[in-house]
Symmetry: C2
Subunit: 368 residues, 2 copies
């Protein structure tokens, strides 16, 4: 449908995948989890069967625009929304909705994170198509992912009554439900109860809505933000949007779309999705998603592995020199090389990479 617009949220601080990710090269600009293109490029490629490059927008930090444009040459230059300061998701989603509304009053907007991996792309697009259908009727829709573990790092959505059941091409169904409520990251016991109960799904940060419905919801729940966005519209009418963004955006409230709208708006819908989703949250997750040899090493061809198992070797050097990486007698390690850094740690310590980044910041080195 030619009313479908996509907004990809591509910010990020670049700490969890250090040394591959940096402040100037966050996760979505990297190939991770066994794919050979940057996660953002894969995200765009994945939705292009549903829309056109002209209707795909990328919201990113001003300092990341050049690097982001470089990996997406197929998108129009003006479709990159440069946030002069990070203000969480509500301001940039609001800005996108206002901007799209100016060119297409009945636009349906799909908001997607830039840095996730989807195993079943056909199923993913089918879920989005169903969500867009429901959104066209006026609801704000989210995708709920079937939990596979009692994850405490995600928000959850409590699922209510079915709203519709649409058959998919493969015979399965896309089930759309009402939303009882959005729940922020739960403690472990609660997450375990959610997993056992079957009434909760993961909030993967994917939202689908008519642009006019989102601007109305923002006006209702966050009038301060909405007023700023209206000023951007007025500046755009004067041909002066960039300067207005530079001036006004940093003063916007830093607030997530979940908190600003989803936790407050009635009548939300959730499409249950089961399409091999991962947010690739750590090096451990990257290893899980990568192709592996018979002893569970995920390593490039030039690695020499002697009595080594369960290791992730990631070579992101750009100097083009062939370099042997030899692992002898080591197991379940992460070994990541870039031009200016090397990280060695056990896979199960992946969550602690931030500690290394913090140490480097304290030292004032240029490697963060």
């Amino acid at each position: 449908m030619d009313d479908l617009f996509v907004v990809i949220i591509a910010g990020g601080s670049g700490t969890r995948f250090w040394p591959a990710s940096r402040v100037s090269r966050p996760k979505q600009l990297l190939p991770l989890g066994g794919i050979d293109e940057p996660l953002l490029a894969a995200t765009v490629r994945r939705v292009l069967p549903l829309t056109q490059p002209e209707r795909v927008f990328i919201a990113t930090g001003a300092h990341l625009v050049d690097a982001t444009r470089a990996i997406l040459p197929e998108l129009p230059s003006e479709n990159f929304l440069a946030e002069p300061a990070a203000r969480n998701t509500a301001p940039c989603i609001g800005w996108s909705a206002h901007r799209i509304l100016r060119v297409r009053p009945d636009a349906v907007v799909v908001v997607l994170p830039a840095d996730h991996i989807i195993g079943d792309e056909v199923g993913f697009r089918a879920a989005l198509t169903e969500a867009a259908r429901v959104a066209r009727e006026g609801r704000i829709v989210t995708i709920g992912l079937t939990p596979t573990r009692p994850e405490t790092g995600y928000g959850y959505i409590e699922v209510g009554a079915p709203l519709s059941t649409e058959p998919r091409a493969d015979g399965s169904e896309n089930q759309t439900f009402s939303v009882v409520r959005f729940v922020e990251k739960p403690p472990l016991a609660t997450a375990q109860a959610y997993l056992a109960g079957g009434k909760h799904v993961w909030n993967g940060g994917m939202f689908i809505f008519r642009a006019d419905r989102m601007t109305e919801a923002l006006a209702k729940h966050t009038p301060e933000l909405s007023a700023m966005l209206t000023k951007l519209d007025e500046a755009a009418d004067r041909g002066d949007e960039a300067a207005a963004v530079e001036e006004l955006f940093p003063a916007a409230p830093s607030i997530s779309i979940d908190y600003a709208v989803m936790e407050r708006e009635p009548g939300l819908a959730v499409v249950r999705g089961d399409f091999g989703w991962s947010d690739v949250g750590s090096w451990e997750s990257a290893w899980e998603l990568s192709p592996k040899d018979p002893t569970n090493n995920a390593a490039p061809d030039h690695a020499v592995l002697e009595d080594a198992s369960g290791n992730l070797v990631h070579d992101l050097r750009t100097d083009g020199r062939t370099r042997v990486v030899a692992l002898l007698g080591v197991h379940d390690l992460v070994v990541v090389e870039t031009d200016d850094a090397l990280l060695v740690m056990p896979r199960h310590r992946a969550q602690d990479v931030r500690a290394v980044v913090e140490t480097l910041k304290t030292k004032g080195t240029p490697h963060v």
Copy 2:
């Protein structure tokens, strides 16, 4: 004494310290074990208080001469003896003895391996001085190192009756004994008995002798080799030594000085040495010898160590770029970086580095 000449044996195949060591860059050309100069440079520096650069000779492979000269600019160019083929120690020691004898009929020659570390350099030189004194009297002398473990990788020397006791400057004594016999690498039970018995010392490959006594001994025990060396003398008289070496040396018997002379010659003497000797036989040994932080990491200043202990980090890259090495939650690892290779292994697997080199040879890569 101006009769003292030093011959440093600097060959090596470059496998035990891969990826730092290579066929073209064996161990003696590397800084290892916590010293900041190549082991060979340290070996030369260590003996210079006893002699002059003009009397220090380096016996090395022809393919290593340029790299070896480069780190020893203070030695005369003609003091590098280039072996066109590796023929073990007897031919190159014999060649050295013949060559020195031509310029100094009463020369005393000290033969030293190029790639060992000495903790107490004053004690080391005192032992060499005592050995030279005994050698001047006509004996072939070796240095016997007090064993500290039942090592099965070294040859041993059984010590006989005392020959002399010389006081040292610090009040201790250099004790010189007759040699009962040289013993090749023993099985573990034998090595344990040697350690307990106190009558055996390690053969560290250091030999001290009058050049004329060594040429006589070679003539007696290995007439074939001796005949070749005499031909080199004749060629040298004609100003044609290099061509003769090229032609004759590869046909020499490949035989160690231990087997050719030490195990057969009567009247040998051994000076017991106790001066913090190590042959730096592996990455494990290099870690033992290196300065370490409070959690036993031997690592350069630019390493970031978070909950890491007992690791050896060796950065031998030559591109001059600063590179962070971050170890998080790992213990007792060896991490070695060069321009074209990275090795990660547990310290206790250091003896198995050869397996990696063998794999690389099989693959036909240029990284050996």
